[in-house]
């Protein structure tokens, strides 16, 4: 079975990989967490500004493959101006989509999670070894939300 590479590397993904949005360390951020994929050495840090339960700013820096960079870039766009609870359900919905978990998907559909632009990552589920690339920034994001101090890795 062949699977078109363009299904994985959609234009939006290539665009965000080449020109990541919200790249950098904003001075006003009040939460941050590091993510590390020990399989490939990708490392990134997610910086959040949480104001009264709302993610008012999100940014990241680090280095990695096209999938992880694009995922981090799109994530920072999507979580901005969401409440912590809304942002967390985006994480859950995104995770279910890329791991292709039907039960998890159904559960999230019930919650009415609208993934919006994040749907461009749906092709990732056809590439099991690349799923961790897409979820790495989200794991770091979830850790930052919780105010976790220790680094997260994709191997937990």
């Amino acid at each position: 079975m062949t699977f078109d590479l363009r299904e994985l590397y959609q234009e939006v993904i290539l665009d965000h990989a080449k020109q990541p949005r919200n790249f950098g360390h904003p001075p006003g951020c009040n939460r941050q967490a590091k993510g590390h994929n020990p399989l490939c050495g990708d490392r990134l840090t997610v910086y959040l500004t949480i104001d009264d339960g709302v993610v008012t700013d999100a940014a990241f820096d680090g280095a990695g493959c096209a999938i992880s960079m694009a995922s981090a870039s799109l994530m920072t766009e999507m979580v901005k101006n969401k409440t912590e609870a809304e942002a967390h359900s985006l994480f859950k919905g995104f995770h279910a989509m890329v791991v292709g978990d039907q039960a998890e998907n159904a559960e999230n559909a019930g919650d009415g999670v609208d993934l919006g632009k994040l749907a461009v990552f749906s092709g990732v589920r056809e590439y099991p070894v690349r799923v961790k690339c897409a979820t790495l920034p989200w794991h770091a994001f979830a850790a930052a939300l919780k105010g976790k101090q220790e680094d997260v890795t994709t191997e937990e």
């Binding site: 079975m1 062949t2 699977f3 590479l5 994985l8 590397y9 290539l14 990989a17 080449k18 399989l39 490939c40 050495g41 990708d42 490392r43 280095a63 990695g64 493959c65 096209a66 999938i67 590439y127 690349r130 690339c133």
Partner: protein
């Protein structure tokens, strides 16, 4: 400048005179016939683990179908035959490495276990606080971490032989590291990430001048060149069977008999004892002292078959074939401007580690996989080496005796596609 096409013609002419017929060799490897993503499989990850010839597969199958029983125990026919075959495999390894005696060959799970064995037995007994172990920047994690564990337990110091930008060990720096506190040198024979073949004979000579024993990690060397442990005069030599076209889960620790005898056992259990009472246990003689529990019997027999196979082809022929591929692939990949090769020493195995400007190695790996090409993308279990070059990962194409110039052509076409795709 020589062109890839020029080399191709030259190689074509040369191959007409060689006994080594790669087409026929490929027929020996059933797995290579399959298609991946609709394309013929191009397997370029033999440095991670090599594919198996039918002779090895059949030896393992025959063992389980007709020869299998536990060894060193039974008084019955099958057990005696299995024991004979297992010990026969040990004798094959002994001849393969040029060891003086078969009892100097210890079967282990792989090179990782072999190094841990030496660290936990020789290291624990003979190394003490403030002693130093010398390793190199080229080492695989399996020749770093066991020494770090021992360092943390004992309060040792690890000293690291640096390399130059081509991936060669800096031998003057190595000489300076050897001092009165140095108690062991543990160094690779061939870098898994760069392909660099190290001057182990000289490394050993310099260490022995100061009475320091040397362990050589031969994982990447044994598939590509003949090794003679007596000529090298190394004290320990380790390798994994699966990189030598043999089964996984079987490997070898060679140690000089006097050293092995002086070392305490590694694990306790059956087969490593001569008598046991609840008060006291007397240990078996070497190599059995280090082989507690039922070993990988079929694996050892399969490794013996792998040794027969590569020896039958001949290392001169294998080396000639692989060196031609290396030259051809280096030239062909160098034609891509945005590609940077790591490991450019003259004396190297057919391993090409590279990055493409603006394309992460993982993405290169996915694009190539789509073309049916298997390469490794990552840190190759050599993170300190990646740090030395200021990268987190590279793409690595590693060749075996079954690879062809067409495999190189497919790799180059795939690399061009990745450049176009992300360009």
């Amino acid at each position: 400048m020589t062109t890839a096409a020029g080399i191709r013609r030259q190689v074509q002419r040369d191959s007409d005179h060689l006994a080594f017929d790669v087409r026929r060799v490929r027929e020996d490897f059933p797995i290579l016939k399959q298609r991946v993503n609709g394309r013929p499989l191009v397997f370029l990850d033999s440095a991670a683990s090599a594919q198996k010839p039918r002779a090895v597969i059949r030896a393992v199958q025959r063992c389980y179908e007709r020869e299998y029983a536990n060894i060193h125990r039974g008084v019955y026919f099958l057990s005696e035959r299995a024991t004979e075959l297992f010990e026969g495999a040990r004798a094959k390894v002994q001849r393969f490495l040029g060891a003086r005696e078969a009892r100097e060959i210890v079967f282990v799970r792989g090179a990782t276990e072999a190094i841990n064995l030496v660290a936990q037995t020789y290291g624990r007994k003979f190394l003490n606080r403030a002693d130093e172990v010398v390793i190199s920047t080229l080492e695989h994690h399996s020749n770093i971490v066991p020494w770090q564990m021992l360092r943390d337990e004992k309060g040792l110091t690890l000293r690291i032989i640096p390399i130059d930008d081509s991936g060669a060990l800096l031998m003057e720096e190595y000489e300076k590291l050897l001092g009165t506190r140095t108690k062991l040198v543990a160094v690779t024979h061939c870098s898994n990430a760069l392909g660099t073949i190290t001057p182990v004979k000289e490394i050993i000579r310099l260490a022995h001048e100061k009475g320091i024993p040397v362990l050589v990690d031969g994982c990447q060397a044994v598939p590509h060149m003949p090794v003679d442990v007596r000529d090298l005069d190394c004290d320990f030599y380790v390798f994994s069977g699966h990189k030598l076209y043999g089964p996984s889960g079987i490997g070898v620790l060679y140690g000089k008999a006097a050293l092995l005898e002086a070392m305490p056992p590694y694990q306790g259990g059956g087969d490593m004892i001569s008598t046991v009472t609840f008060e006291k246990t007397e240990y078996n003689v070497i190599p059995h002292k280090f082989e507690a529990g039922t070993p990988n019997i079929a694996g050892a027999i399969g490794l013996g078959a792998a040794i027969d196979y590569v020896s039958g082809l001949g290392f001169d022929e294998i080396a000639d074939h692989e060196q031609e591929l290396l030259e051809y692939a280096t030239e062909a990949l160098s034609e891509t401007n945005s590609l940077r090769l790591f490991g450019t020493v003259k004396d190297k195995a057919c391993i090409l580690s590279f990055i493409i400007e603006g394309v992460h190695p993982h993405d290169v790996g996915t694009i190539l996989d789509h073309e049916g090409i298997a390469i490794r993308a990552g840190h190759h279990c050599a993170q300190p080496l990646m740090d030395r070059f200021g990268v987190t990962a590279t793409a690595r194409a590693s060749f075996g005796l079954y690879n062809t110039r067409e495999d190189v052509d497919a790799l180059v076409a795939g690399v061009r596609k990745a450049v176009e795709f992300f360009g």
